[in-house]
């Protein structure tokens, strides 16, 4: 038997983790699309329709905030909804991931966090294949700068970190509290109003704005809008977004790992 160095076993553990995430994400995607990858583009349809409805109803009221352009309002709404749908979809699906695989976890030793992580990765794949190219094209069309679509990867990184952290947090909590989906649904609904998706952030009263600025999705969406609509890469905002993402991820990892030893008694 060859003695294993700590580095060696760490690398092996890491590659096993990635492989597990790979197959679990693949499994989730094949279950969703049944062989037709075009199904991904259905996920583009919903934000397009929602943006059209919002533009019809609120477009005129908020027109002055968007250079008197319905198109710019519609694009702002679209970017907001895309980011928010990614967050709500990925975290709501991650919520049940550990519990749904309880049977498997009782039979084989697996790192438990792979299940929520794989769900977020599957959703990320869907975003990168489905909506991200569209956002890139929109950026190119609005700004004419071929480098700017690349900048979209930074807010993407931030929102993925937020989703990973939140996904780990809620999937761990769900092991203990089986009525959590009900509360989480309410929380997502509240957040969908508290995040400036279909209204300009400028209309929020200042006192209220302090509370709302704690929502990392707000700054991430603002960064995306700056890139797509105005061709601006706001580095300070990107730094805030990435920090917020990193902190959410840290919180999720710490909570998940702290409670991990209790999970198996509840599955």
């Amino acid at each position: 038997m060859v003695a294993e160095t700590p580095l060696n076993s760490l690398l092996r553990g890491g590659s096993r983790y990635l492989e597990l995430v790979h197959i679990l994400a693949e499994r989730a995607l094949t279950a969703r699309y049944r062989g037709s990858i075009l199904g991904v583009y259905w996920s583009v349809l919903s934000p397009v329709m929602m943006s059209a409805i919002y533009t019809g109803i609120f477009g005129r009221a908020f027109l002055s905030y968007y250079d008197n352009s319905y198109l710019r309002y519609a694009l702002a709404v679209f970017t907001g909804i895309v980011v928010f749908n990614f967050f709500s979809g990925a975290t709501s699906q991650a919520l049940t991931a550990v519990v749904h695989n309880g049977g498997l976890l009782n039979k084989v030793k697996l790192p438990m966090s792979v299940f929520p992580v794989a769900i977020v990765v599957a959703n990320c794949f869907q975003l990168v294949v489905g909506t991200l190219p569209l956002l890139a094209v929109l950026t190119l069309w609005q700004t004419g700068n071929p480098l700017l679509p690349l900048a979209l990867l930074l807010p993407l990184l931030a929102v993925v970190a937020v989703c990973l952290g939140m996904g780990l947090l809620v999937s761990g909590l769900y092991v203990f509290f089986r009525d959590l989906p009900y509360f989480y649904e309410i929380m997502v609904a509240v957040l969908s109003i508290a995040t400036p998706l279909f209204y300009p952030p400028e209309i929020i009263p200042e006192r209220f704005g302090v509370v709302l600025s704690l929502n990392p999705l707000g700054v991430i969406i603002q960064v995306v809008r700056d890139i797509v609509l105005r061709g601006i890469v706001a580095w300070d905002q990107i730094a805030v977004a990435l920090t917020a993402g990193g902190l959410t991820l840290l919180l999720g990892v710490v909570v998940f790992q702290t409670w991990r030893s209790h999970y198996m008694d509840m599955l």
Binding site: E19, A31, G103, K107, V108, K109, L110, F177, M266
Partner: protein, 246 residues
């Protein structure tokens, strides 16, 4: 004589599920009303010590709820002992009762690969071995069929074929030997023999079928309410167990 598994004074406390509310609303309300209690824990294993030599076939017997499956979970590393140490040398493959870990909508081939990766094998290696597994399970014509299309006997054959094809150093059989028809049972019996004789695979069996434990295992452990009552020759263990229960 290499040690395959060694447990040293392993005790395990678990939370009893009935005591826990499983409910955020009730937990919050209980805290407000001052009725919140720490969840109750129960000792499932009491200072279990045992050593298994590589290539040994060991049986686990005992009444329902004695902790047999829990002990296997501790050995597999699924549950961490509350106190004591567990040392295991080599890859463990549990033979799972079928259904768990399989995705009914996915193809048989994909399920083989996923399942193999869960057991700790590389994806590429499983792609290479999938053919042999299908061959052994006599399911070659079913590779692309969704798993839900298989009969329960076919699924059982598939599970056995995967767990044994991955050539583990330690194989865990938890009440699953009665799989498939007479023909397949003979075939799987033969494969286990081969494993044990030629590859020195360590085999742990849990069964209520005392005759099969007597026939296949040299040693057996009688577990009673989380304590080892007897460890040694399987005939002796079964005789003592029967004397107490019968």
């Amino acid at each position: 004589m290499t040690e395959a598994i060694r447990l040293d004074r392993v005790s395990l406390w678990r939370r009893t599920q009935e005591e826990f509310s499983y409910d955020l609303k009730r937990t919050v309300l209980n805290i407000f009303e001052g009725k919140y209690r720490q969840p109750i824990r129960k000792q499932i294993l009491h200072e279990v010590s045992l050593t298994v030599i590589q290539g040994e076939r060991l049986g686990l017997i005992g009444a329902n709820g004695a902790g047999k499956s829990t002990l296997l979970k501790v050995i597999c590393g699924i549950l961490a002992p509350t106190s004591g140490t567990v040392r295991v040398r080599g890859a463990i493959a549990p033979l799972i009762e079928l259904g768990v870990g399989f995705d009914p909508e996915n193809s048989v081939l994909n399920n083989i690969i996923y399942y193999g990766v869960f057991l700790g094998f590389r994806r590429r290696e499983m792609q290479r071995r999938a053919g042999e597994i299908l061959e052994f399970a006599e399911l070659r014509d079913y590779a692309l069929v969704p798993l839900k299309g298989l009969s329960s006997g076919m699924k059982a054959r598939l599970g056995f074929a995967i767990a044994t094809q991955v050539e583990p150093e330690i194989l865990i059989l938890d009440e699953v030997m009665a799989v498939g028809d007479e023909n397949f049972r003979r075939k799987s019996q033969k494969r286990l023999e081969q494993f044990w004789q030629h590859r020195h695979t360590t085999i742990l069996t849990v069964s209520h079928n005392l005759d099969s434990i007597r026939d296949t295992c040299q040693r057996a452990i009688w577990l009673d309410r989380g304590k080892i009552r007897f460890i040694g020759d399987s005939r002796e263990a079964i005789a003592q167990y029967l004397a107490e229960t019968g």
